[in-house]
């Protein structure tokens, strides 16, 4: 296959390694991704012994042509969005490596591992406390959200942020 841009070449390589050596509980539909390298669907299982055991999730990755200099857009999609304090009911994930802490050292595989560990460390299944407000007001692209990643204050700051942006 003639992959042209460096970004496509890297994605091609990541795809091959994800198909060959996927992290436990993760698999990717290689055939579908093969047709369009810039949009991936990754299937994920809740890890054993955690609150999400037995659940199935779907993650959507969208890559811009600037990848890996630009982070991918990652959201949960499909019928089952995990109920988690950092996952909004529209599938948006509040995870710093997806925006300001992104580095080209990260990859689809390491993002998957981070999300699995984020889910696994959860002690109580609940939506973020600003879920209703956020889902109603947010941009479709989670990367457009200015996230605060520190605990409960985040809610207030997010409200302030929307108030300011109006």
């Amino acid at each position: 296959m003639a992959a042209t841009s460096p970004s496509k070449r890297r994605l091609q390589k990541e795809l091959m390694s994800l198909i060959r050596e996927p992290p436990p509980g993760v698999h990717v539909d290689g055939e579908m991704v093969g047709q369009n390298l810039t949009q991936w669907i990754v299937y994920m299982e809740g890890a054993k012994g955690t609150l999400y055991e037995g659940e199935q999730f779907q993650l959507q990755f969208k890559f811009s042509s600037k990848y890996p200099f630009d982070s991918p857009e990652v959201t949960f999609i499909g019928g089952n969005i995990p109920v988690h304090p950092h996952v909004y009911s529209n599938g948006h994930i509040c995870l710093s490596i997806l925006t300001e802490d992104w580095s080209p050292a990260l990859s689809v595989q390491s993002i998957c591992l981070s999300i699995i560990s984020m889910l696994s460390s959860c002690t109580e299944k609940k939506r973020p406390s600003d879920n209703t407000l956020y889902v109603r007001t947010c941009n479709k692209n989670p990367k457009k959200t200015k996230w605060w990643y520190h605990g409960k204050k985040g809610i207030i700051l997010y409200i302030l942020y929307i108030l300011c942006s109006y």
Binding site: P6, R9, E14, P68, F69, S103, P104, A105
Partner: protein
């Protein structure tokens, strides 16, 4: 008695010269012949006689021009080929079926030529093991026949012989990590010096024992140390010694590190992909942090550091955090 071979699934093919026979009407008639041959269990020879008659009849009855090869051209070409084979017999001549592509071999080097219809340049180079250097450009120029091509080929080989000898010595005594399989067209060698340093030398084929172009790749401290060594020793370059000997002197080295035999160590050196674009094309930059030592292409690293808000630019160098360990890393700004 059954006819043998059978006419089932028989195919009739025509050479290019009488391809003009391939029209519908002729085909119909020919298929009729084949069917009849199947039914009546004819022998091959009687079928061919009938086919010959049909072709003859068809050629007379139609205005179709049948292309007859120009025997003069062929005779002329065969003569050229014969002369070429006798001229400089140490250069082997091989050819494809149609005598359109001629390959000249000398030792382990070859040049492939294709016959063209151009009067000025009757032979076009389609593949060559010779390096692509300015004075060898336009091999086709003044090559009026194959004998001239052979002479020119030998002449270029002789010029390069010295350069190849120098490179061979390097190949035998150093661990060359790029090109992985050096051939005669490569005039550069990237030599492994240590886990965090390699040197690329590019020699001048016309003056192979002169100081080559030297470029270090690796982590900053090592590159600096070796660059200093080179500038201290460069006045000692001895034109009577080989490149290899001179390199040892320049780099203050007694011997070059030997190639690792174990596959894993080999892999660790050669399979170092760039930590940003993940491509295998050998990276030229290594993170200074001994615990990190990730490899990058300067181009990729510079592109990433430019997106970092906290970066610093001093002259044409950019400083910022390593994408892996966040330690300070720098590289020249490349576009």
């Amino acid at each position: 008695m059954p006819a043998y071979p059978l006419f089932d699934d028989v195919h009739v093919k025509f050479g290019r010269q009488i391809a003009s026979l391939q029209n519908k009407e002729f085909h119909k008639k020919m298929n009729g012949l084949i069917k009849a041959a199947c039914k009546t269990e004819q022998t091959v020879s009687s079928f061919l006689t009938q086919l010959q008659l049909l072709i003859g009849e068809y050629m007379c009855n139609t205005d179709t021009k049948i292309l007859v090869p120009n025997f003069d051209t062929i005779r002329y070409f065969l003569q050229e080929l014969e002369e070429a084979v006798q001229h400089l017999p140490e250069v082997l001549v091989s050819s494809d079926q149609n005598l359109n592509i001629i390959k000249l071999h000398y030792r382990d080097v070859s040049v492939t030529l294709q016959r063209c219809n151009s009067a000025e340049y009757p032979w076009k180079v389609i593949a060559s093991d010779l390096p692509n250097i300015p004075i060898f450009k336009d091999f086709e120029k003044n090559v009026t026949n194959l004998s001239v091509a052979k002479t020119k080929f030998i002449w270029q080989m002789e010029i390069l012989e010295k350069a190849w000898k120098q490179l061979e010595e390097i190949d035998e005594n150093c661990w060359v990590i790029d090109p992985l399989k050096p051939n005669k067209s490569h005039l550069y060698r990237r030599i492994h010096l240590s886990q965090s340093l390699s040197v690329t030398i590019t020699i001048d084929p016309l003056n192979p024992i002169a100081l080559p172009v030297i470029k270090f790749s690796g982590c900053d401290s090592e590159v600096k140390r070796q660059t200093d060594d080179v500038s201290n020793n460069i006045h000692k370059w001895d034109y009577d010694c080989s490149i290899l000997e001179n390199l040892k002197m320049l780099l203050n080295m007694y011997e070059f590190p030997e190639q690792q035999e174990s596959m894993e160590e080999k892999k660790a050196i050669i399979n170092n992909e760039c930590g940003i674009c993940f491509s295998d094309e050998l990276p030229d930059k290594i993170c200074n942090n001994k615990k990190c030592m990730r490899y990058f292409h300067s181009v990729c690293l510079s592109k990433w550091l430019q997106t970092d808000i906290g970066n610093q630019v001093v002259f044409n160098h950019i400083y910022g955090p390593c994408p892996y360990c966040k330690e300070k890393i720098s590289c020249s700004i490349e576009h």
